[in-house]
């Protein structure tokens, strides 16, 4: 019986050691290489720590979403990317996502507001940029809309549970006049 307990203790110790080792190994790349994907507290912090020429932030912001963003994720390596997620004041769920991804990366981040079924697609203009507007269902079948456009070196995607009209207004407020 004592042998069995000793075996269990020895095995458990190994597992704890393995978990600690994995945690350390998970942290090492963040320490070694600056600019890898991590959480940021504010957009100012992203601007001060990473070297983005532009971070797309809306100047029009529907009142049902909370400012500042509930979550900001950003990286410079392996490619530049910024993701901002905003919560809906009523449902306390993510209701607006703004993604800004390096255009050559062909990467579509999985966020908390994910399209599950596309219902209709059309082309719109966000100021001088040609954009794709998608009417879709997100998550558990809730209606959502998305607009995305290529803006020089990055691809900007705005996805929201708000109406298509609000979405276009949010998107247009993010692009400066030429």
């Amino acid at each position: 019986m004592q042998k069995r307990w000793l075996a269990i203790f020895s095995f458990a110790a190994t597992i704890i050691l393995l978990i600690v080792l994995l945690k350390i190994m998970n942290w090492v790349p963040l320490a070694v290489q600056q600019g890898t994907l991590r959480h940021y507290r504010s957009i100012d912090e992203v601007e001060s720590k990473l070297h983005f020429s532009t971070i797309y932030v809306p100047s029009f912001f529907p009142q049902n979403f909370s400012w500042p963003p509930a979550e900001i994720l950003a990286q410079e390596k392996p490619f530049p990317m910024v993701i901002m997620q905003f919560k809906d004041r009523d449902s306390k769920r993510i209701g607006l996502v703004i993604e800004q991804v390096y255009v050559k990366a062909k990467y579509h981040p999985d966020t908390d507001l994910k399209i599950t079924r596309i219902q209709r697609e059309s082309t719109v203009f966000i100021k001088h940029w040609e954009a794709r507007l998608v009417i879709a269902l997100c998550g558990e079948g809730n209606p959502c809309t998305q607009v995305s456009w290529g803006s020089g070196t990055c691809r900007v995607t705005v996805r929201t549970t708000a109406s298509p009209r609000d979405l276009i207004r949010i998107a247009r407020s993010m692009v400066a006049e030429q």
Binding site: I8, F11, M25, N26, P29, A105
Partner: protein, 328 residues
């Protein structure tokens, strides 16, 4: 390179690799913690190191399709992609070295595993045995008489080196060389043939066939390559145990094994180039080490585990599955 590791194929390759490493480490520690010495039990554990990398990624994705999401990755126990995207001197991604490891493993698999199997299949189709050597055939028949079960064909090859192997399939056969027959005593011959009969008997188990097919499927996987080799070595020892359980004479099998040492002789004329010669020497050395280990086992008395191993096995499996779930 970056795009590859975000694709499903890239994620499968990366995650199956890291899941395989973790499974192998946990299995090794589990075998030590529970002092599992029986080869048959150890083999059941080692199978996990081959099966987990094959199925873990699709299984986890099925359970949670959001496992690849940024939120999951950030909260995970270990995100392998952080290492793959690390750039040496700001230019060369470590992922490139990872892909190189996969390529080297593939080349090793083709040259060291597939090519010999192909050669063996062609050789065994070509009958090169002597039919007129009645004295040798008589010795073999006598050895077979004392062994239980269905008797396969035994074919004697005219060769000056001692060799013994078997072919499996619908019509299994044991092949041995005339040189071997001359050096083995009747007891040693019986023990050696009993070992080959054990191989034939075990080759009919569907699990081993499935594991072999999965191993072929994971041709790129370095952990599966190493673990499969350990499994094959373990298989030799399981067949030793089976042979001894039939003949009740471990000493005879140990003595028979001594005839299978590969001589490592530097004085022999070499036509090989330096790297090939080194490779051959290494292979011969590792072959001899395995023979040494098997002889030591047989002469030191075969190990038997006390009690059931199902609790440690289930615990090991659960720990592997839970930890790997949080490793992306």
């Amino acid at each position: 390179m970056v795009d590859f590791f975000y694709s499903y194929v890239g994620m499968y390759a990366a995650q199956s690799f890291i899941h395989g490493v973790i499974a192998a480490v946990i299995v090794d520690r589990s075998l030590q913690a529970w002092k599992i010495t029986s080869q048959e039990t150890a083999q059941r554990f080692r199978l996990l190191s081959i099966l987990v990398p094959v199925f873990s990624f699709p299984l986890y994705q099925m359970l949670n399709p959001d496992r690849g999401s940024i939120a999951f990755r950030l909260d995970s126990l270990f995100d392998f992609s952080r290492w793959l995207h690390l750039a040496l001197w700001g230019k060369i991604p470590l992922g490139l070295f990872f892909v190189l490891i996969l390529l080297v493993t593939t080349v090793i698999f083709v040259l060291q595993e597939m090519a010999p199997i192909m050669r063996h299949m062609i050789d065994t189709r070509r009958p090169a045995f002597s039919e007129d050597n009645r004295e040798d055939a008589g010795l073999v028949e006598k050895a077979l008489e004392g062994l239980p079960g269905e008797k396969p064909d035994v074919l004697i090859l005219n060769d000056s080196d001692p060799h013994l192997f078997s072919s499996t399939g619908r019509k299994p056969a044991i092949f041995l060389t005339s040189a071997l027959i001359r050096v083995l005593t009747p007891e040693q011959m019986q023990a050696a043939i009993a070992h080959e009969l054990a191989h034939i008997q075990r080759s009919k188990r569907p699990l081993l066939v499935i594991v072999f097919l999965l191993r072929v499927l994971m041709f790129f996987h370095p952990v599966v390559l190493l673990e499969f080799r350990r499994l094959v070595q373990g298989e030799e020892m399981i067949c030793d145990d089976m042979a001894v359980s039939v003949t009740r004479n471990p000493h005879a099998l140990a003595q028979a094994l001594r005839h299978f040492y590969h001589p490592i002789d530097d004085d022999r004329p070499h036509h090989d180039k330096q790297p090939l010669r080194l490779r051959r020497k290494l292979e011969e050395h590792s072959h001899n080490l395995l023979i040494d280990h098997r002889i030591a086992r047989l002469e030191g008395g075969l190990e038997r585990d006390g009690g059931s191993s199902w609790i440690p096995f289930t615990l090991t499996l659960c720990v592997i599955l839970v930890i790997n779930y949080y490793v992306v």
